[in-house]
Amino acid sequence: MIKVRIPTPLRRLTGGQGEVDIEGDSVSALINTLETQYPGIKERLCDEEGAIRRFVNIYINEEDIRFHQGLDTPVKQGDEVSIIPAIAGG
């Protein structure tokens, strides 16, 4: 199982959960599983072409997937995946 951290703005879609454990061997597999379990979440993360939105970052542990293999970045057991969208409140 991979632990995925859900940011505050998206917790409405996960029934308030800030952390979910799901299976998947890549970021895109995780997103598809998330979408199956929590419909609507994928369109918050990805644009119409399926690319990660430019104001949403996904990290595997401390690493931004944009600087690795993007959606194809592999994940392994024990990794913690964090979804971190830009926020602007002050």
Binding site: T8, F55, S82
Partner: protein, 274 residues
């Protein structure tokens, strides 16, 4: 500049720190810090920077104090409701530390005025409440080679990073666009305080911005440049992730396409419930 006996007493507990000392206190007294917004983040930042003895604090805000601000905007008070926030801020700071010179700007930053307003400051703290201002401030700070300490909050969650892409002596460091290349289109992400925020969260992040600012002024410690700090008040967790410089950054990369300031549309859409 020489400190008076009263000033030596006022700042004695930080002058005692060997990382500060008399020399550091002098740096703090000579520092010019610009605060964007006298709101949830700007309030605690301003109070701690003023109490530390920062010589000049510039503050911009276009708003007046509203009763609903007082849950988190601790520069203001019941008595200053309906007063311009910058006036209320100046008054509170003057009462706490008359050493501090406050320079007030009433209005909003835009591509036409920002360079002129921020050019005389050493350090900028972004505590604004919308994406267009955050991208504008990032771009302007990059063009003027100013260090920017960016804090933002949403409900129970805060983010903090220090941006100084002009400092290349310790390797490449990112700008805000390396972290988030573009603002969300209006309406897709709630960005305004109307979404709700835990007051003390603003305090936590605003004070962390002030801590980063003092470290920059003193040249001590390790800054958050190249890192994003994420604070979740509900599970009381602090996490840090890496923010590499984006080699293809449209602003600070080697082949920039953003060569002048852009005004994005300001949108303050209410979020869907939840």
């Amino acid at each position: 500049m020489a400190f008076s006996d009263e000033q030596l007493q006022r700042y004695s507990r930080q002058i005692l720190l060997k990382e500060v000392g008399g020399k550091g206190q002098k740096k703090i007294a000579e520092a010019r810090v610009f605060l964007i917004g006298a709101g949830g983040l700007g309030s605690p930042s301003a109070l701690y920077l003023a109490s530390a003895g920062v010589g000049t604090l510039g503050i911009i805000d276009d708003d007046v104090v509203d009763l609903s601000n007082l849950q988190r905007q601790i520069l203001h008070s019941t008595r200053t409701v309906n007063h311009p926030k910058v006036d209320s801020a100046e008054e509170t700071i003057a009462k706490m530390n008359p050493d501090v010179k406050v320079i007030k700007h009433v209005g909003r930053l835009d591509s036409g005025n920002i360079l002129d307003i921020i050019k005389d400051y050493d350090l900028i703290l972004d505590g604004s409440d919308n994406f267009p201002t955050r991208f504008l401030v990032n771009d302007a700070a990059f063009f003027l080679k100013k260090t920017l300490i960016s804090g933002s909050i949403f409900r129970f969650e805060g983010q903090l990073t220090t941006l100084k892409p002009h400092k290349t002596d310790e390797g490449p460091v990112p700008c805000y666009r390396c972290l988030y290349p573009e603002p969300p289109p209006p309406g897709l992400v709630p960005s305004c305080q109307e979404a709700g925020v835990l007051g003390v969260l603003a305090g936590t992040i605003g004070i962390l911005q002030a801590a980063e600012a003092l470290k920059e002024i003193l040249g001590i410690g390790e800054s958050l440049a190249g890192r994003l700090l994420i604070y979740d008040a509900l599970d009381m967790s602090f996490r840090r992730v890496k923010v590499p410089k984006n080699p293809n950054c449209l602003l600070c990369g080697p082949n920039p396409t953003i060569k002048e300031l852009l005004d994005y549309e300001i949108s303050c859409t209410l979020p869907s419930p939840g």
